[in-house]
């Protein structure tokens, strides 16, 4: 069996010592996959992604990135190890320009030629950002900010990219655009783990999915299966008939 890009085993984590939000969760993302984590509010989706990123204390269990244990690694060192994370809100430096935001993503890198190359790649992926490179990120629209946030994460040259609700507060049109870009990012060899509320749109571009409830993974499987699964639809997606109809 080949090593997973990201592997979570029996993970227990929470914000305060008394309360565990994650109660022994397990999941796996193979290299080159897009995996979506779904679940109702309070299921621990964001906490999961933050615990992997090193922002929430891991009490027990394992988090492995290409086989290396990364639980307990300081958040700013995760980026150097190849794990980038895009928070759901407050994910751009509002008073820095678009280009400076992107430069901050590459702060730990010393290979300036490769960084310059990646900057051009991000601008090719999001031509809108190239037009606004001098503008401060705080003045951008919601969709453009999301592009800056994803671009900033890509500038680290990650092997695994984690996205926390990339479609939150975006119009259906922009949601489709962002998801199309996520697929494009995957074709460049980046493995993607995302948390989403917008289950149908997210599963449509994903290979596999997990449904969380109460700090554990309840259901997992191929994205197509999950979309068709009536239990998933009724319990967690708020979809009555599924996509197969």
């Amino acid at each position: 069996m080949s090593t997973a890009a990201l592997e979570v085993r029996e993970l227990v984590a929470g914000y305060t010592p008394e309360v565990d939000i994650l109660k022994g969760i397990a999941l796996e993302v193979a290299e080159g996959e897009i995996v979506t984590v779904l679940g109702p509010n309070g299921a621990g989706k964001s906490t999961l992604i933050k615990a992997i990123a090193g922002l929430v204390a891991v009490r027990s269990g394992a988090v492995r990135l290409f086989g290396d244990e990364i639980a307990g690694v300081e958040p700013h060192r995760m980026v150097r190890r190849g794990l980038a994370y895009v928070p759901q809100t407050r994910n751009v430096f509002a008073r820095l320009s678009v280009e400076e935001n992107l430069e901050m993503g590459a702060i730990a890198r010393r290979d300036s030629a490769a960084v310059a190359h990646d900057l051009e790649r991000v601008y090719a992926l999001f031509p809108r950002l190239a037009e606004r490179r001098e503008q401060s990120a705080g003045t951008l629209s919601g969709g453009e900010r999301q592009m800056v946030a994803v671009g900033r994460a890509l500038m680290a040259g990650p092997r695994v990219l984690m996205l926390d609700e990339p479609s939150a507060a975006l119009s259906p049109h922009l949601t489709n655009l962002v998801f199309a870009k996520v697929r494009e990012v995957r074709t460049s060899g980046v493995t993607i783990l995302m948390v989403e509320q917008n289950a149908t749109a997210a599963l449509a571009i994903s290979d596999r999915g997990y449904v969380l409830a109460d700090g554990r993974e309840r259901i997992s499987g191929e994205a197509r299966e999950l979309l068709a699964n009536p239990e998933v639809g009724a319990l967690y997606l708020g979809v009555r008939r599924g996509l197969a109809a």
Binding site: F93, A94, R95, I107
Partner: protein, 297 residues
């Protein structure tokens, strides 16, 4: 006559500006009002006095009261003061940053301020000191305005340091990282910025600028254990008037307050000088809460 008051105000204002730049920088990046910043000025001034002793009697530059030795002593003072600032952060502020109560750091900085001031009195005594006992001759710059070479130097150095700091923050990797941490420390961490390293860099720069401001004040006025404590409120007023976080704002605020204090002497007498700074600060808070050059959030 008014021209002379304005010119004197610009000189005082330049010192205030330099102190306020350091204050606005640490305030913006570390997110607390550091009342011990004044004592960093005092320490800088006394360190320079200490190191300058090694160069006593050396050649001076033209009509300036000091020479190359004093420049070296000032550089040494900037370095030593940066170390004091780092030590304060490591042993006082860093353990307290974890506190949920925002005012903890401010109160701690009050305590640090008192402690440092008394260390100065203990080591150097309460009497005023001077870098040079030589009499400087003020020459007429424009009709009716006389300034000494040292005073002109103070204004020029402040301008150079302001520009250098601006370029540093706008162009260099570390400068941009400092602005990023100031903007959003949590996101900075996620983006891979070593926030602890950025905080250390902020203290080094803030401490060094404070030390230079202290030396300049000592050069044009005198060196006193409570010089920083006297200046701190005017520096806060300058930073707030100009807009917290803005370097040019701190300079503008410093100059405005310096000039306002100096010209007020003509009308209401010198006893009310400190009050003038506060009236300006209150007006700024009421009518320009973000300051004259403050950035929008």
């Amino acid at each position: 006559m008014i021209g002379q008051y304005v010119a004197d105000g610009v000189v005082t204002g330049a010192t205030l500006a330099l102190g306020a730049i350091g204050l606005t920088l640490t305030y913006n990046i570390l997110r607390f009002a550091n009342f011990a910043h004044g004592e960093l000025l005092t320490f800088g001034a006394y360190f320079a006095l200490l190191f300058a002793g090694a160069f006593a009697g050396a050649q001076t530059f033209g009509t300036l009261s000091f020479g190359a030795g004093f420049v070296l002593a000032t550089a040494g003072a900037a370095l030593a003061t940066a170390l004091v600032a780092l030590a304060l952060d490591r042993f006082l502020f860093r353990p307290l940053r974890k506190s949920e109560i925002a005012v903890t750091l401010v109160i701690a900085s009050f305590g640090a301020s008192l402690m440092l001031r008394n260390v100065v009195v203990f080591v150097w005594g309460p009497e005023p000191e001077y870098y040079s006992r030589a009499i400087s001759i003020a020459s007429e710059i424009v009709p009716g305005v006389r300034l000494t070479s040292d005073e002109l130097f103070v204004v020029a150095l402040t301008a150079v340091l302001m520009l250098a700091l601006h370029l540093f923050l706008a162009r260099t990797r570390l400068g941009k990282a400092m602005r990023a941490v100031s903007d959003d420390p949590a996101l900075a961490l996620v983006a891979g910025i070593d926030v602890q390293r950025v905080i250390r860099a902020t203290w080094i720069i803030g401490g060094a600028l404070a030390a230079i401001a202290g030396v300049l004040f000592g050069l044009t006025v005198q060196v006193l254990p409570d010089m920083g404590a006297t200046l701190i409120l005017s520096m806060f007023a300058a930073a707030i008037l100009g807009g917290v976080g803005s370097i040019y704002g701190a300079v503008l605020g410093g100059l405005l307050i310096g000039v306002a204090q100096s010209t007020s002497v003509a009308w209401i007498g010198p006893a009310y000088k400190p009050g003038v700074a506060f009236v300006l600060m209150l007006l700024a808070l009421m009518f320009f809460p973000r300051g004259l050059l403050g950035e929008k959030r």
